[in-house]
Amino acid sequence: MTIKSNIPKGPLDKKWSNHKFNMKLVNPANRRKYKIIVVGTGLAGASVAATLGELGYNVHSFCYHESPRRAHSIAAQGGINAPKNYSNDGDSVYRLFYDTIKGGDYRAREANVYRLAEVSGSIIDQCVAQGVPFARDYAGYLDNRSFGGAQVARTFYARGQTGQQLLLGAYAALNRQIDAGSVKFYERREMLDLVMVEGKARGIIARNLINGKIESYAADAVVLATGGYANVFFLSTNAKASNATAVWRAHKRGALFANPCFTQIHPTCIPVSGEHQSKLTLMSESLRNDGRVWVPKQKGDSRQANQIPENERDYYLERLYPSFGNLVPRDVASRRAKEMCDNGYGVGSSKMAVYLDFADAIKRLGKDAIFEKYGNLLDMYKQITGEDPYQVPMRIYPAVHYTMGGLWVDYNLMSSISGLFILGEANFSDHGANRLGASALMQGLADGYFIAPYTISNYLASNKFSPVKEEQKEFTDAENSVTSTINKLLSIDGNKTVDEFHREFGKVMWDYVGMGRTKQGLQKALKLLPEIRSKFWKEVKITGNAHDINTELEKAQRVADFMELGELIAIDALHREESCGGHFREEFQTEEGEAKRNDKKFSYVAAWEFSGKPGSPKLNKEKLDFEEVHPSQRSYK
């Protein structure tokens, strides 16, 4: 397969404006005739559905929850970046672009990242107009804070609930279009297949989660904004239902999957407390603005944190990275925490945690100021652990949080399938091998409000569409295949639950395809993962039937797909013989233990093609050209 990124010609800062002018438009009177399916209602899905509705397209929005507001974007805490330079500290579009390219360890496309930085300012304006209650100062101006990987304060926030407020803004915009009749909303529907007609994406198959009916929906274009795949690890900070089924089934229909091994481990999560753990909870990176990370200088020190005197504490991030200190990027902070614990400096009963301490900040700013900034996060911590972070330091440990990889898209956010657009975390486009904090919200909304509405219009205006009906063969065939998979799962009647399989699979993923990867470990994973998958298809037990609400059946389908995707992640990680960003191969590191890239061999996007059966994908490469930023060893010292 030849892959074309379709990056417009011209200077970096003119590419998007030139492209916008060159793209074709659909006359306002004709837009109603085009039907667009949008799957997912998080930041990217809700914002694109609302915007396409405003433009006058016939939009159909699908969501597996009862309400768009339940999408996992709601849980993002810290903030959203924009180079407004309101803080007057030297920020600019170029600096945000530069920080993001560098933060991504030079594995993202320059043109995409520049465009992201360019439109991000408008996102703030848009959200303000919607009534998003961003933090303000007493004069009424917008307030900013700083985040990892940046030396300017460019992060806009709404206490520790920024994702919630931005999603509620997009949800409100979507509601307005539903009310106006330009968007039709389908709740509790899960997409289970993509339907292609004459080589173009022309519809989806969805299961009605209330009555189990398998339904067909035809359209002229399909947008997937279905989030990331961190739950392949079972334990992650993603919501329980977050899954990769929509993108994986599109992959099996021909969409390339790019850089699956670029997974992000977030440094500040609440440590695992026991075998029963069902998910992990993130503590926003913003806490590293005022919290100091440390471990005891003495190995295996079992004293309480408050009994360890100042000179016996190792503030290792401040020691190793004097200029960025506690605000180094996520991949660096996570790796160092793991290293400290692996070397015996871990704290807490499991010894798999480091301290995040607010004592100095409370002394300097007062308890009220800390409450004002982080109150809800510290309360959440107390609720889960039973410890008061105002009195004792928090215990934190890294956890899987975000996936930079995703379906491959060109500059227009279109996948390798014509008419299939991928937005937000579901695509691979902007974060390279590591995403900086407060950039996920930015990307989701940039894609949805300001990029895809233009590029989808261009696609519709540039193509001819033969009439397609839900009764035709392509749809009935896909429906039959979905139904037969469901029947097969229900008929196994084995002895192990879906969760038990998922947990077992996730543990192998975490142990061998997690934070530190080696050739040997990955090879072992590639042996174990298919074994677990084949056991799953023989021994899983799902009760109930396919004709009403069956949460076990829903989970089983998602886990079945994770078990194929997990193997692809391991294959990608094994093939990429370098360390970059979130992908750390222990064989490839500098003397100081930093990720060592191999630009000569691996400066490309690995876009994997489904070959017909899991475990034997075909590799396509999209070479990355750096015209503006010269890739160098990332340094945060």
Partner: protein, 245 residues
Amino acid sequence: MNLTLKVWRQKDKNDEGRFIEYSAKNISPDMSFLEMLDIVNIDLVKKGETPIVFDHDCREGICGSCGMMINGRAHGPGRGIATCQLHMRSFADDDEIVIEPWRAKSFPVLKDLMVDRTSFERIMRSGGYTSAKTGGIPDGNSILVPKPVADEAFDAAACIGCGACVAACPNSSAMLFVSAKVSQLALLPQGQAERETRVQRMVAQMDEEKFGSCSNTYACEAECPKGISVVHIARLNREYITAQL
């Protein structure tokens, strides 16, 4: 810990429903309430029975999916938390725990503990927004919102739409939910243009959905996982009356 659960089981909308007793064994006090139910469900599936169905997703108290009456209280004992944030250390060994779905006419039970809250959706669609279209928007700092106003708007906007307010209310009133949105947008300059039509339409839809009236018991505020104040209900009333004049 070992516990006895009395759980409401109901096949679908039309089924009458009944309590069924289960025992939850070897439960760690560090588990969350939903993790305890996960364990019970694994046992049920292994026995060939259908698991207890409940809505849940983020499990960190922000998506608003989960919600059940636990020993007669919305989201169970403890203040300012959703069901997913409730931990088993709030219970004692050998406790009996009664678990029911939200009880309200406007929230019909779909199955077991899962209810249909689309009535909330229809209320939000009837005006819970500013009509700001994408694009053509002035700079964020051209609209000034002093901190105390932004903070109060945020307090209202923090609603997670879980429905605990309705479930806790003896009248099944949705006033706290509706007032949170009306109040947020009434406080902010961005919400002024549609201030009157918004409150009228949202209240009309709320009545159409057959939610009850507010009789100031304040059970909603007591059980709200985000601690949303009934002051917003007062503001809703004022907004509504002003809009009628």
